[in-house]
Symmetry: C2
Subunit: 440 residues, 2 copies
């Protein structure tokens, strides 16, 4: 699927809504990400929205505007539902039609009719709360950062990354029920832990609670069971991306994961950012895949014929920690690390082609996690286990506090954005999750 | 949760529907399992049903009967939906109320009004097709047969079962989208395989396609995130059980599963029987858990205070294979093995208590697989890999054909029932799945 640039990528485009034109804003007119929302403290139904500046457009209100053309109107109706699965299932031409109609109506040269209609549908972001934008049928978590895999292998004293890493976009099935939108607060998990030197496990709250910086990938159109997805068409099955924190209890994981993989270590909470940034908005930031030729060609179903810039995406990512002391002192959160999605060994298209190659059917609204995103140097690590070397080199925060792992009351905030000269900034907003004390 | 016997367990109870009184029938009046159905080749909506003899009761038709008391009527209304999640969420008192009302109306001493009303709602089983009885939010597959774990360890040349096996009811998250009801037909999966002696993987249809005999456990009422389920109340969260075939591609699994567990090896198809047998119907067949005292007490959250017969369930299980040659010759299928669920090392209650102990929330309609059910001797193995010793000792069928693994055109049929003197037979019907050739 070619990622040609179109009018929505024009960096000179401006909105009549001034808050969308601030250079540092996450949601300029070139972005237009989707979510579902309702007014805070209300019992309204959740419904679809697009973010613009410091406002959102209530699509359910806009869907009845007589100025909408048919494809955009049908898409807007689907977007009025409490979850966006139906909208996702309509495919790239419907997604684009709605996004382009919004672009035109929000543009500084919009007709007065268009402008008035959409103005009546604006709601300030400060007044809303978010739901999960899709009913997620299945959640799959990948493991596609070679830097993360290398770091973890060293910390566990292994001889190197798993021998299949360079052949397979490794993945496992995750838990859907505990995925929550930004703002998620959850109790520290408890479970079986094998303490150093012990011969039998202890039941305890996790002593090694960690986060994992990931991107979430929402499937748009799915595939039928037994019908694989070709690599070169795989991107057309992606609706868009969000930020994802795959909370992990390292000590519970170490004892439970043989032989069948992580279970309780990762099923107590997963936090996603509410806004889904479309692949169309991200098109200017595509890069070639960083997988080196020296690693050999992958098997044909993972091997792209073209050597085009449809592989990686340069999404800059940051992890921040906010402790009780930050909040008490009204201090800004401490940055833990920053990296980019461009380092990921396998591309999104390769993850999808692999997922479907054996006959597994993907459905609209399925969520894929990229796996922890770590860059080549230590300050670019996507998990605290890596940054603090499994507790042997605790991280010092701007408050003077030290952290080997995440403590009660700590919040982890993920942020992401694309930015480069000649293009508007495309932001993701944030994913925020906070740890409450264990009950046991 | 005590498993006291009640009127529905009376072996002397008979129905006015004669087909329910045949001694070998799976669905006597003492069973009354639930499913969803519609007439074959129709575009009717799926809706809830209870099986009786060679018929089913269309609950959506019966729900409007004026003779129903309130709790049963509300339950029947919930049962009229295309999936039974709402009914599951109502809890044991509602499930019992509906089941007991059906028992009374189907009993030979039923009033003529009751009898006439329900007679109008009967549909022959031969005229229907089944859907999945619940919208499954998450599917978790356990690994709780010590005999299966021991067999697999030996075949893989390992020194013994995983060291955590006797401490943890091991589990991993499975794929929901590819679960299908009995009758499922699917293409042989293809994927990456590391052939013996090779240094790089090959892309190929699986050469080691296997089945796994399991029971499926449907969650009735769930739990809130962060609120564990106590062991002694865990059974009250179970709506009922079905048969489950966890199709597995052993060669794809061997190469992909390090470090995070099986993925494509198990996400192409999972086949469940349509009828869900309630724990209430199974109460007469409860046994003490077989976990030996010599293995030590499990951690407190897995350790029952009472030493009552609420642990295991003696469900007799059979695996049958039907090949193209059976069908061409109109021959009965060949039995591959038979065993019992009573051998399982961990109980259903322990699986559920473990699942929720770290804070994970279960939801109505979630499905748990028991893991492969193998008994202590080889003829009781629940997978062909065990029966045929990973291809070194192929199984001979009644047709004279040999099988190391499942071949194209083969169907695997699972059957299950409880039977003992002094009680009616409680049957599960069957789960049937058939392998089609790979497209690649």
């Amino acid at each position: 699927m070619p990622h040609t640039l179109n009018q929505t990528h024009d960096p000179a485009a401006r909105s009549w809504l001034e808050s969308a034109n601030v250079p540092s804003v996450d949601f300029p007119i070139q972005n237009l990400p989707f979510s579902v929302f309702r007014r805070k403290h209300s019992d309204e139904a959740f419904r679809g929205a697009v973010a613009i500046g410091d406002q959102l457009v209530d699509i359910s209100a806009w869907a009845s505007y007589a100025g909408l053309r048919e494809t955009a109107r049908e898409a807007a109706k689907a977007c009025s539902q409490p979850v966006l699965n139906t909208f996702f299932s309509m495919g790239p031409s419907s997604w684009s039609a709605l996004r382009h109609a919004l672009f035109e109506a929000l543009h500084e040269h919009a007709s007065s009719h268009d402008r008035a209609a959409i103005k009546a549908c604006l709601v300030p972001l400060s007044e809303v709360e978010y739901g999960l934008p899709a009913q997620i049928g299945d959640y799959t978590d990948f493991y596609t950062s070679i830097h993360h895999a290398t770091n973890i292998s060293k910390l566990l004293g292994l001889s190197g990354v798993s021998p299949n890493f360079k052949s397979i976009p490794i993945a496992y099935h995750g838990r859907v029920s505990s995925i929550g939108p930004s703002g998620q607060r959850f109790r520290r998990p408890a479970g079986q832990i094998m303490l150093p030197g012990a011969e039998t496990p202890t039941f305890s709250p996790s002593l090694k609670l960690d986060y994992e910086l990931e991107l979430g990938i929402y499937i748009g159109q799915g595939n039928a069971a037994g019908e694989p997805i070709e690599l070169d068409r795989a991107d057309s099955h992606v609706f868009g991306l969000c930020l994802l924190n795959d909370w992990s209890a390292r000590d519970i994981q170490a004892w439970e994961m043989q032989p069948l993989g992580p279970f309780l270590a990762k099923n107590f909470a997963t936090t996603v950012s509410p806004w889904i940034v479309t692949l169309e908005a991200l098109a200017p930031f595509r890069l070639a895949s960083p997988r080196p030729d020296s690693d050999g060609r992958p098997l044909a179903y993972l091997d792209s014929n073209e050597n085009s810039a449809t592989g990686a995406i340069d999404i800059q990512l940051e992890v921040w920690m906010e402790t009780a002391r930050h909040r008490a002192g009204n201090l800004p959160a401490s940055q833990l690390s920053r990296t980019s999605f461009k380092y990921q060994y396998w591309t999104i298209a390769q993850m999808i082609a692999h997922h479907a190659i054996g006959g597994c059917n993907l459905r609209p609204g399925d969520l894929l996690g990229s796996g922890t995103i770590s860059g080549p140097v230590k300050s670019e690590a996507g998990a605290l286990m890596e940054l603090a070397s499994n507790g042997s080199a605790p991280v010092t925060l701007s408050t003077g506090e030290k952290r080997s792992y995440v403590e009660d009351g700590d919040a982890i905030i993920l942020r992401g954005y694309c930015q480069k000269p000649g293009f508007a900034r495309i932001g993701f907003g944030e994913s925020r999750g906070e740890v409450l004390p264990s009950k046991v």
